[in-house]
């Protein structure tokens, strides 16, 4: 077995999600190479080389990879794919964007968002918003896989010394161009990797009211999240959405405030360690999955909670 893991990075360091994907690669077994494609990404290549268990890092450093455009990346990966039995990436928005394109170009299936490895060709993945788990066997010669980060422990980021090689850039397909990014800046931990998440739902009532969650998140060192209803209503930006079609999180502690608990939301957080629900409706489905629930007015309970945390 020979596995290629496509790294997600910011040119300087490797994202935690990739360390989770490497966790899945370790369970599949065999030699693991990492591809770092970007523009000015030498430092990220070095960082990948320090990950224990990585045999070789391939660095493709060229302007056409700066935007992480799927068209350019997929063409590059297909060019270096021969010899690999598995191609993996974390199921982040980047991974979900590029991996099916790679699979189709290789004429193979993709296995999306695996949460467990049963054998090198058999994997478990959630379907129907996590209402069922399917065990699937992939018959193709190359297995293209996206890895749900909550399903696998991250490997450690330092201590290894893999060879770092550069690979030549491919031709630019000239199909697409990055125009701009509006990345939400935050001093809080990254939602997908946070130890504690405080999420608000429709019950927050407005974007202004959402701010009462901030002191609570500050006290706990938590990331902020939201239900789809809160994002659709415009209370907060889309990058906070937790659920079937948003981010999937599994923090040690998840505090759901004013969230009723539709199955689509539960799909994104039900693997959390401890779930706390604060909701004025005692019949809200969120209480069926919560370890601790408070039935009450969130506008009273949340400030009290901040006070009690000292």
């Amino acid at each position: 077995m020979s596995i290629l893991v496509i790294a997600e990075h910011d040119n300087l360091s490797i994202k935690t999600a990739t360390l989770n994907a490497l966790g899945a690669a370790a369970q599949i077994g065999g030699e693991v190479d990492v591809l770092v494609a970007g523009s000015g990404c030498a430092a990220a290549g070095q960082a990948a080389g320090a990950i224990p268990g990585v045999k070789k890092v391939l660095v493709a450093d060229a302007p056409l990879y700066g935007g992480q455009l799927a068209e350019n990346l997929a063409a590059l990966v297909v060019g270096i794919a021969s010899g690999y039995t598995h191609i993996l990436a974390a199921a982040t928005s980047n991974g979900k964007n590029v991996m099916p394109r790679i699979a189709a170009l290789l004429d193979v299936a993709q296995v999306s968002e695996i949460i467990a490895v049963k054998s090198p060709d058999t994997f478990v993945r959630p379907i129907y918003a996590g209402a069922a788990l399917a065990t699937v066997q992939c018959k193709d010669t190359v297995k293209v896989i996206t890895v749900r980060t909550t399903g696998f422990d991250a490997v450690s980021a330092g201590g290894g010394s893999a060879a770092v090689e550069s690979v030549a850039a491919g031709a630019d397909p000239e199909l697409s161009a990055l125009v701009g990014r509006e990345i939400v800046k935050s001093n809080r931990p990254e939602l997908a990797a946070a130890r504690i998440v405080v999420s608000g739902g429709r019950g927050m009532g407005s974007g202004e009211n959402f701010k009462i969650l901030e002191p609570l998140a500050d006290k706990l060192g938590a990331a902020l999240g939201a239900s789809r209803a809160a994002v659709d209503a415009g209370y907060v930006s889309n990058d906070l959405q937790v659920g079937q079609t948003g981010k999937v999180v599994a923090p040690e502690l998840y505090i759901a405030v004013g969230i009723s608990g539709a199955i689509q939301h539960l799909a994104g957080m039900q693997d959390s360690g401890v779930i706390v629900a604060i909701n004025k409706d005692e019949e809200a489905p969120i209480f069926q999955v919560a370890d601790y629930g408070i039935v009450g007015d969130l506008f009273l309970v949340v400030p009290e909670l901040v006070k009690e945390l000292g």
Binding site: A70, S93, I102, L253
Partner: protein, 247 residues
């Protein structure tokens, strides 16, 4: 061109079959995949704005998908194509069928839902774009056609990203692109008279054999409901001393 999929309605509580071969779909309400509805709505708006001239809805699967196509026609598609097969279709096979249809129809833009809410794969649009050699704009929250290019604002992990794609292109849509309209009775009546063509994978020269074998489908481990606590003070005590998740 807008591909649409017939799926178990998003409000249905899905049950796993006792024999572990799949989920119960008999006597269950079926609907158009919600993301496909958003894709179709966007196409109708592009036509209303004079940007698009014709909308073709395409579905791949059982004959019952004709119902879904009739809904698409009622929402505003001009004609429909069903690629009918009883074979379990996986995303790569669907992408190949869509390629065969696109090669006949030469659409200027293909709008798809970003994922189907049944298999949650999130693959077909990207695979279709790859097979066509087209640009792809996934998870779109804004679409603007500008001459021979289309500008797509994408919902990504950190926020938003805008890409400019050469046309023709494939765009997969996210939740916040638009709010689909309700189907009206006069439009349902009109939809019955719109053309619906039925094709077969063999006639399109596409091998649709599944690449993945589902060995087993099971229920996930269930969380148990915990306890209700009376106030914030008790909650903090429990989180510190019982659950030990805060200090």
């Amino acid at each position: 061109m807008v591909p649409v999929k017939r799926v178990v309605d998003y409000n249905v509580k899905v049950r796993v079959k006792a024999d572990g071969t799949g989920v119960e779909t008999a006597n269950v309400k079926m609907s158009m995949n919600p993301f496909d509805e958003i894709a179709l709505e966007e196409a109708v708006r592009l036509k209303e704005a004079g940007t698009a001239t014709e909308i073709i809805a395409v579905s791949c699967g059982l004959a019952t998908s004709q119902e879904t196509l009739r809904t698409a026609l009622a929402i505003g598609a001009d004609r429909a194509i069903l690629v009918e097969t009883g074979v379990e279709l996986q995303p790569l096979a669907v992408a190949k069928l869509l390629r065969a249809v696109a090669q006949k129809e030469n659409p200027g833009l293909v709008l798809l839902g970003k994922q189907a809410i049944d298999d949650d794969c999130n693959q077909t649009g990207q695979m279709f774009a790859a097979l066509m050699g087209w640009a792809q704009g996934t998870f779109a929250s804004k679409v603007k056609v500008e001459g021979d290019k289309v500008s797509v604002t994408r919902e990504v992990d950190g926020g938003l990203e805008t890409v400019s794609l050469k046309l023709p292109a494939a765009i997969t849509v996210d939740l916040r692109l638009n709010e689909p309209r309700y189907v009206t009775l006069p439009n349902i009546m009109k939809a019955k008279k719109k053309p619906l063509e039925v094709l077969k994978p063999d006639a399109l020269g596409v091998d649709v054999a599944p690449r993945l074998v589902t060995l087993r489908v099971e229920e996930p481990p269930k969380r148990k409901a915990g306890v209700k606590v009376p106030d914030a003070k008790t909650l903090v005590e429990k989180l510190k001393n019982e659950a030990k998740v805060i200090q």
